[in-house]
Symmetry: C2
Subunit: 602 residues, 2 copies
Amino acid sequence: MTRLVPELLRRRLPILDWGPEYSRQAFAGDLVAAAIVTIMLIPQSLAYALLVGLHPQVGLYASMAPLVLYAIFGTSRALAVGPVAVASLMTAAAGQVAAQGSPEYLGAAIALSTVAGVLLIVMGALRLGFLANFLSHPVVSGFITAAAVQIAAGQLGALLGASSKGESLLEILHSLVPSLGKINPVTAAIGIAGVGFLLWARGGLKPLLLGMGVGDRAADIVSKVAPAMVIVATTLAVWGFDLKARSVAILGTVPGGLPAIALPPIDVSLWTKLAVPALLVCIVGYVESISVALTLAAKRRQRVDPDQELIALGAADLGSAVSGGFPVAGALSRSVVNFDAGAQTPAAGASTAVGVAIATLFLTSLLLYLPKAALAAIIIVAVLSLVDIGAIRRTWAYSRTDFAAMIGTIVVTWLDGVEAGLVVGVGLSILLHLYKTSRPHVAVVGQIPGTTTFRNVERHAVVTDPEILSLRVDESLYFPNARLLEELVNDAVAANPAIRHVILECRAVNTIDVSALESLEAINHRLADGGITLHLSEVKGPVMDQLKRSHFLQALGGKVHLSHYDAVASIKPELAKSTRAAPRAVAGSAAGVESGRPSQPE
Amino acid sequence: MTRLVPELLRRRLPILDWGPEYSRQAFAGDLVAAAIVTIMLIPQSLAYALLVGLHPQVGLYASMAPLVLYAIFGTSRALAVGPVAVASLMTAAAGQVAAQGSPEYLGAAIALSTVAGVLLIVMGALRLGFLANFLSHPVVSGFITAAAVQIAAGQLGALLGASSKGESLLEILHSLVPSLGKINPVTAAIGIAGVGFLLWARGGLKPLLLGMGVGDRAADIVSKVAPAMVIVATTLAVWGFDLKARSVAILGTVPGGLPAIALPPIDVSLWTKLAVPALLVCIVGYVESISVALTLAAKRRQRVDPDQELIALGAADLGSAVSGGFPVAGALSRSVVNFDAGAQTPAAGASTAVGVAIATLFLTSLLLYLPKAALAAIIIVAVLSLVDIGAIRRTWAYSRTDFAAMIGTIVVTWLDGVEAGLVVGVGLSILLHLYKTSRPHVAVVGQIPGTTTFRNVERHAVVTDPEILSLRVDESLYFPNARLLEELVNDAVAANPAIRHVILECRAVNTIDVSALESLEAINHRLADGGITLHLSEVKGPVMDQLKRSHFLQALGGKVHLSHYDAVASIKPELAKSTRAAPRAVAGSAAGVESGRPSQPE
């Protein structure tokens, strides 16, 4: 069957790969996983819709079509797509082009999902998935930690019956603090109890169930649906004790029925306005999704195609847009549960969509008395699990530049919002990397006596010759560090009048760009003016190929030597000759070098 | 004497180094050089002032104090500071905050010089000279070529008696073309004759003088003062034939007398507006200056301190500002003449300033009949010598990415002006570099039979083992390429079910950042899930030091081996053991490896 389908079509429609071989057994696994994920997804989708600032049913709308489309286009067999916390927060930030609660606000969310979908598909078609790589780990990790804290703070108002609004942590705290006097005690009790139960459920529920004789996997899964228990319990409590009369904010009427499918309105000026936020939403969503997908795929040695994933997530966003939803992504927690519960194919996602559709058709009336504080509790506990203090500590220990990029991202996110935080983070990590490579590690090297090996004179007992300067640069030579090399060589030669040969060891040089080439030419030229010869050693194949396309090798005073040892060995006799003509006191150290073994085939 | 002066003061005031030892002989050399440079500088300073859009005397003002200050603070013994073409064009572009010809326009030029001076001094004090390195050679070269063509086009109006104005080549051509019908034939005759003479003087004057028995150096220098001859000849012609009556635009009254020294007015809002243009002016000026200074210093094995040069050029800009001038820099042509004519110390610059002062006091009345077309001719010929088509061709041959950055700079400069051109150029070169390193060269390596050397399986006849995957990455591992490595390893392992060990050879890896560390951890983890062991080989000292500060080495399934040969050699026996337990057909290729010589001390 699969042989008959052209290769490109099969790559673009992975369902053609697994669909024809879909077995009853796989269906059983998918169905169990889908049932559990559905129970997780319903409260989360309601909560994330509120987080965006939309009516709760919009969250349900974003949990149907996207899942079906991902099942058709996606290459991961376990990724659970739908509303996620960080993308929802970013949607809320981007939605500020309209007043929250207005039809234009929903329109902006739909437009954002449309633009994000189109961008993802274009990136996929052009194989631009590598763009996501420019979000470095420390920036993503710092951003998610900062966003999680900010989301949690933003939910404190709903949790306590106070108010907290704003695009940055600063603004949220600014609105929250004055309203703390107006806390609704009943709401706060529900909210705090919800948070308490959910936190306990993470660590305590599973051992309890195990103690009650429940099987390990079942206990694991039941503890994951704790949010659904909170929903049921708090809804019953509000209804039973008529807490609405005590001013507890409830979800109210959630209209049932499936979403109307409609093409999003074409609004080029709005789309242009949302282009940058959409790019950020879709890249962050993609990075989250692909990380989870790769991790889960590796456990079963399955393949994930990163470029096809762009297309699949783009289709999911477009699916959300046409059914009146907001941007979606692959969810960390639900994907892991999906995988653990035995999902075999993307059909599990489609079955989840059916589950959500059934709930949307028949169960929304039960949500009337659901207290908003319970949803706030679910969001807070979900996002706080994303806060990764350990990552901050590990990054500090490992690299100060990565740490600086991370902290910059966090601070700017908190002070100025999610978009500024991401943009500053990416900019910082690029600039800090360039800064680092602009000051490469450069060592003067000498020969380890009795070997053909040359090492740093400061770390090893080595033999050097006063007339030969051997330099090893531990970095590609390119524009940020090209002129530094000129200065280094200039200074070294000015400080040591005896030097008559300079050899650059290039084994760590992966590229030489035009700037560095011009610097090398300048160095060669200036050294020649001062009667000094420049040599290169251990130049890599691809770099040598490139140098051959320039005039540098013709102009080079010395030669390009295969190994550093060869370089020194071939210079020695020359020096000796001219030394006889005008004797100099170099014999002692020269002897050490000459006792070295002949060059190895390297 | 020099021993008594503290080190820092001596570094900050290089005059303390050479001043106390200043000899009569050095003075003689400096004086000759100064006289020649003065004759070059006077017409150039008038012309560049007109290029900025200021009164000609402002050019003279910018040619006194800056030279004296550079003599005190500068470390180059030959750099001739003063008005230069590219900085003048950039000043004209930045001056657009006010109407050309208005007092506010002069104020903007002075403010630009002030801000540029302060920025340079701050950069020097903070040792931020490396920032200039982010202007790559192709970007600078492309920018100067583009600016030169644009400056020349902008002068065509004055040269022909037509009109040409604008901030970009596009705008200039747009204003020039309709005015070509209104060319003043007499003006055009003077202008074209001037250009013709100057072009001929470059190649033809020196041989002619040599043929007349003039000495080589004298002939060389006389051919460099051709612009002064043009000035004298055309002024006499305009005066003698009363060409003013034929509508030839003349310079008019140039007020004599030295500039009033005054602190520039403090105008924070104007300074803020000019911050970016000032940064660009001062960095471009610095790059030009330091290139010339380093080249000339190398010829006599002298030192130039790049950070002190920032301070010296900053002082020069501030000197220009307080005497009512515009930003200055080290001039390529005048510096070379200064050097060739025998300048020994920065005192030559100070003497040049005295020469300009004398001219400003006594000779400005002679400039009344100087035709503007003559100055236009001088500018055109001067800047066209900066056009470097060869550099474009060489860059194309050498590197497509560098070529793209260069062409991007040129095109944007012509379409949108000098500032946009530079900013786009820097952005492009950074992005293209990141793109290149995001797709590093990765080779599967195998052992060259009978050696300890491992090489690319696609380039060499090597021996590999189906159960061992040896990968060499020719790039530092950092965020743009971190995830690529994950995908590569994932795909390779998914495609070869026999693989049981993966070894990454790291000799070309100069750094591993946090993103790459997390990717390595993910790779290690996923491989372990699939029953495969990850090893590293040939990890460099500084990288190893960093890895030791993480938990990676504890989590690593395999080991870090000193050489790739060691790695394969230590894995073999393990494989052999488990192969005996469950035999596999690997003996053939394994034999090749085992016949290899023992590991060398590397």
